[in-house]
């Protein structure tokens, strides 16, 4: 009996507020005559008709694929360059101001320029994603590599742990919590840029489709796209959480023990 109560309580906390909010939305919009704020039932119907069909493959997949490619490339570039720069004080001092300037440029501002070089196809959209994602990863990697514990580094030197081994077990592992922080920020930025890179400039994709609905004044369909983007954001966030637990399980455990012993 007690257990049932606890479970019910948990479910209540989990779904309570969302359920209330959705109910309010439904009721408030049900009779809406406003040209933009269409009734929620209409939006849900539009959602089913628009997305649960060929568009899933024709539009959702290309967008996600570009995001994945851009994100992966950012990881490789960011971590690679980050390790190099973080390991050399001279190099760091040399490139720091240039990097500060480049990273301060909001990626959307670069879009007209990227268009001049990268053509009009997927390359350009992926470059836009990289232009934003690489910076959190790069800078956090540099920080993480810089902050490698002195004692551990000395230990490695005494035991003659060098090269690839040192890179893998000392540098990357020490820096991994910091790198993951950067990766998480990069994911949020990546989703934003995925959508932006498609606005006005493609013929397939989620961002493009939502924009098309807006420019054709089909607002229920437009909102259904917004809903889809929300679901996408949540799904990717969950995926990241899982990956984080896998990769940094050791770190979280360590931190937890430290906290308890304080």
């Amino acid at each position: 009996m007690r257990v049932l109560g606890i479970v019910a309580g948990r479910i209540g906390l989990l779904f309570g507020l969302p359920a209330i909010l959705v109910a309010i939305w439904w009721l408030a919009s049900a009779d809406s005559e406003h040209f933009l704020f269409r009734p929620l039932p209409d939006i849900l119907v539009a959602f089913r008709e628009t997305w649960l069909g060929p568009r899933l493959v024709e539009d959702l997949l290309p967008s996600l694929s570009r995001l994945a490619q851009g994100y992966a490339a950012s990881l490789v570039l960011g971590i690679g360059a980050g390790v190099l720069i973080g390991s050399s004080r001279t190099l760091r001092a040399l490139v720091e101001p240039v990097l500060e300037l480049l990273r301060a440029i909001p990626p959307p501002a670069l879009i007209p320029l990227i268009g001049l070089f990268a053509g009009i196809g997927d390359t350009r959209r992926i470059v836009i994603i990289i232009a934003g994602c690489v910076w959190p990863i790069l800078l956090n990697t540099v920080e993480g590599v810089r902050a490698v514990d002195e004692v551990l580094a000395d230990t490695c030197r005494s035991y003659r742990v060098r090269g690839l081994s040192r890179l893998r077990h000392l540098v990357l592992r020490s820096a991994s919590p910091q790198i993951m922080t950067g990766a998480r920020q990069a994911l949020a930025i990546g989703i934003i840029l995925m959508v932006i890179s498609e606005l006005q400039r493609t013929d397939r994709g989620i961002g493009y489709t939502v924009e098309q609905f807006q420019t054709s004044f089909r607002y229920p369909e437009m909102w259904s796209g917004v809903l889809l983007l929300g679901l996408l954001g949540v799904a990717l966030s969950l995926l990241f959480r899982l990956a984080d637990r896998e990769i940094l399980g050791w770190y979280h455990g360590l931190r937890a023990t430290q906290k308890e012993s304080r």
Partner: protein, 259 residues
């Protein structure tokens, strides 16, 4: 002392080297100078724009939109964060909602913002505030929750009232998180400000970049992008300074790595 100067000189060398690279590449012909004007031409365009009457209002608009959006988001997030963070029930009840709303990309609201507000500040503020708010809220929640149990018990023993507890217990603990949150929120806010200006048409640097690009003025486009970057750099420096000042007293506990 000598080391610090060395760093400064190296940095300067890096910047100049970068500028030289961008000067040479188009001149040598690796890339057409219609798509990548040499640095000298970009700087010349910048100088010209600085004297004309479109640049400074645009900078002002961008900074203002960014500032207002950030302020709104930060205040709302701090207040909500402290309230929610301090009450266990609220934390549990809102967790799922926050986790769902937070990752919704702010740009999803662009079409709605366009339709609702059109090319004015309000539309961009919508997406700026939305994005910055969540960045800040998460950090504030972390900060409020991170209160040291011993300190909390001490406060309890001394029967500190609610307000005193917030002021002496919660706020100092949360401050590093708040400052980090501020920095993250500011970065995101600037990105979305420019995004709004580019896609919604709100007046500002983004709109100017679009206008220059639309007129085929490539050199000016580059110059404006540079200015946008400089605004970002100024913002970063500002927040770094704020961080240093406000956390001067904070023991570098967070920087310590476990032995």
């Amino acid at each position: 002392m000598a080391l610090r100067f060395r760093g400064l000189w190296l940095g300067l060398a890096g910047l100049i080297g970068f500028g030289l690279l961008l000067e040479l590449i188009p001149r040598v012909g690796v890339v057409s100078d219609r798509y990548l004007p040499p640095t000298s031409r970009i700087l010349a365009e910048l100088g010209e724009a600085a004297g004309a009457d479109r640049l400074w209002p645009a900078v002002g608009n961008t900074v203002l939109t960014w500032g207002i959006g950030l302020a709104l988001a930060v205040v709302a997030a701090t207040v909500l964060g402290v309230v929610i963070g301090s009450v266990r029930f609220l934390r549990a009840a809102t967790a799922s909602t926050i986790e769902f709303l937070r990752p919704i990309p702010s740009v999803a609201w662009i079409p709605a913002a366009i339709v609702l507000y059109g090319p004015v500040r309000a539309g961009t503020l919508l997406i700026v505030v939305y994005a910055a708010f969540w960045q800040m809220l998460v950090q504030v929640l972390h900060g409020v929750v991170d209160v040291d149990p011993v300190a909390r018990d001490t406060a309890h023993s001394y029967r500190l009232g609610r307000w005193a507890r917030v002021r002496w217990l919660i706020w100092p603990t949360a401050l590093p998180y708040v400052v980090t949150g501020l920095r993250l929120a500011a970065t995101v806010a600037l990105i979305l400000t420019v995004t709004g200006e580019l896609f919604i048409g709100t007046p500002g640097l983004g709109a100017e970049i679009l206008r220059a690009a639309a007129g085929g003025a490539v050199g000016l486009t580059y110059a404006l992008v540079l200015v946008t970057g400089l605004v970002g750099v100024a913002a970063n420096l500002l927040f770094r300074a704020v961080e240093r000042r406000s956390l001067a007293w904070h023991p570098s506990v967070r920087a310590e790595t476990p032995a």
